[in-house]
């Protein structure tokens, strides 16, 4: 028992680990809340696109000495507008447009990084750096994350209706275009929040996996949200610890852990898991 307590307590004697664990938990929570909407709306690819597209924004912000969140936000929204524009003005299918736009933005980011090696650490942008997160970035993460959570809290039912039945939403006078852009803005903000913890490449896992885990565990949206938040915080905190002990990539550990939880859930989930489904099948037969 003592050893387990020690396993948890010893690392957070260090200031940097205490900060890392708390920031990870917060990031895990914000991402998990949004991931419920992402999985129900089927926006995984959109999340992937926006997260990659913020790269040049982050680099430019560093170069210009602006808050990196600002650059990320501008390019995140910009990528979505570019996708929408190309889709509506040409005959090209949406998935092609998404693939085209986000790789283009991401490539531009790589070029900018390689031309300014002294200012920006490529590895930190791509893979996160929660163990070395400076205080001003923590404050930025907390502020943006809190704003995001507040917006979701206020609009949660409208956003849910928008995911479930946009036709009905429109017929009772809700502005579905505004809801669409609100959800995209929340996506961009959440990506900004998560960048510090897991980096650009793995953000999409934080935005999809907790929602997917929760979706297999629940038939009620409120319960789904709770399961997602629990799995999001748990995997973020434990992943940070594991990365400390293994001296391995923090973002990597968090996402591997999350994926493991998903696999276990997929097999064992009481109603929608593989075993439960097989049982149901055999009863029918």
């Amino acid at each position: 028992m003592n050893a387990i307590v020690q396993w948890f307590v010893a690392p957070i004697q260090y200031d940097f680990m205490l900060k890392a664990v708390l920031v990870s938990a917060f990031v895990g929570m914000v991402c998990a809340v949004l991931s419920c909407y992402m999985t129900l709306k089927g926006w995984a690819l959109m999340g992937d696109a926006v997260s990659h597209s913020v790269t040049p924004g982050v680099v430019l912000a560093y170069i210009l000495n602006l808050p990196f969140a600002l650059g990320a936000f501008v390019f995140g929204i910009g990528s979505v507008l570019a996708i929408g524009f190309i889709k509506s003005k040409t005959r090209i299918k949406e998935d092609t447009v998404i693939g085209l736009v986000f790789t283009g933005f991401f490539a531009l980011g790589l070029v900018l990084i390689s031309k300014n090696p002294s200012n920006v650490d490529l590895m930190h942008i791509l893979f996160g750096n929660v163990l070395g997160i400076p205080m001003h970035d923590i404050i930025q993460t907390l502020v943006i994350g809190s704003i995001t959570l507040a917006i979701i809290l206020v609009l949660r039912k409208d956003l849910l209706l928008f995911c479930f039945d946009p036709t009905h939403a429109q017929s009772i006078g809700l502005n579905t275009t505004a809801l669409y852009y609100t959800l995209l803005t929340l996506l961009s903000l959440t990506i900004v929040v998560a960048l510090q913890a897991v980096g650009i490449i793995l953000v999409v896992a934080m935005l999809v996996t907790p929602g997917a885990i929760a979706y297999l565990l629940s038939d009620r949206f409120d319960h789904m949200m709770i399961f997602a938040v629990i799995s999001g915080i748990f995997s973020s905190v434990m992943g940070t610890y594991v990365s400390y002990y293994l001296d391995a990539s923090t973002g990597g550990c968090i996402v591997v852990l999350q994926t493991l939880i998903f696999v276990i859930t997929m097999i064992l989930a009481p109603k929608h898991g593989l075993i439960a489904r097989m049982r149901k099948q055999s009863i029918i037969e």
């Binding site: 039945d165 036709t167 009905h168 429109q170 017929s171 038939d219 949206f221």
Partner: protein, 248 residues
């Protein structure tokens, strides 16, 4: 104002990317009627629905609901829509009463916290379609007919004076079809105006008091006994008389 009809479509033309989907459509439906919307695939049925719900901006003409422009009608929740089964994600983690409560959102404040009146309306609506015993089920755990009734309950909870139903009889058994038809007739008696798009011409003949024929424009509309004729059916189906019993 009293003389205005419930649904008033005046010379409406809708174009998508330069293609005309609906041309010069004119239609007037009164309070307390069930109208069957009859037309082939691609005849403009769903475009007419969208125009009545205000989802498409007509290039010419206008739509009035209870004499009100469409935006105001939307704000008041006057037009309720019951979707086709294929349009719904039945795995969505949501219960029957959650769906019905969504009919009340237009009456709630921004946080959409239900008041007692909203809860009462949801309970009443569920009762009227005999779905009270299933109110806590996840929507995917319902039979075809129950699914239809759940969404019909949402339209009731919305208290729309106009209800649009898209293919309500597809994928339901005869018993459910009869139950839905009876409920629609009851709603008509209470003054609702119901527009039903359907492929089932026999059901049109039996329970719709109005028929609307559509083929790129509205070819004819009026009382079933007057307009449900071989000539109109043949025009609607591009020169082919469909197989249908005309009980005249």
């Amino acid at each position: 104002m009293q003389n205005l009809s419930r649904i008033q479509v005046e010379n409406v033309t809708v174009t998508y990317n330069g293609k005309v989907a609906l041309h010069g459509a004119t239609l007037s439906l009164n309070k307390g009627s069930i109208a069957g919307l009859v037309g082939m695939n691609g005849s403009g049925k769903s475009t007419l629905f969208k125009a009545i719900m205000g989802f498409v901006q007509p290039t010419t003409g206008r739509v009035l609901i209870n004499g009100l422009p469409i935006r105001q009608a939307q704000k008041r929740g006057l037009v309720a829509y019951v979707p086709q089964s294929e349009e719904v994600d039945w795995n969505f983690p949501i219960s029957v009463s959650d769906v019905v409560m969504m009919g009340r959102y237009g009456y709630m404040n921004i946080l959409r916290i239900p008041r007692n009146s909203d809860r009462r309306m949801v309970a009443e609506s569920l009762e009227r379609v005999q779905m009270t015993p299933f109110k806590d089920r996840q929507i995917g755990e319902l039979s075809g007919g129950q699914k239809k009734r759940a969404f019909l309950a949402r339209a009731l909870a919305q208290q729309g004076s106009v209800i649009l139903l898209d293919e309500p009889f597809t994928g339901v058994d005869v018993k459910t079809e009869k139950a839905i038809a009876e409920l629609l007739i009851e709603l008509r008696q209470q003054g609702h105006t119901i527009l039903v798009s359907t492929h089932d011409l026999n059901s049109v003949a039996t329970f719709c008091d109005q028929v609307v024929f559509i083929n790129q424009t509205i070819l004819a509309y009026g009382a079933t006994q007057d307009v449900f004729t071989p000539e109109n059916l043949t025009r609607t189906f591009g020169g082919v008389m469909p197989n249908v019993q005309l009980n005249q």
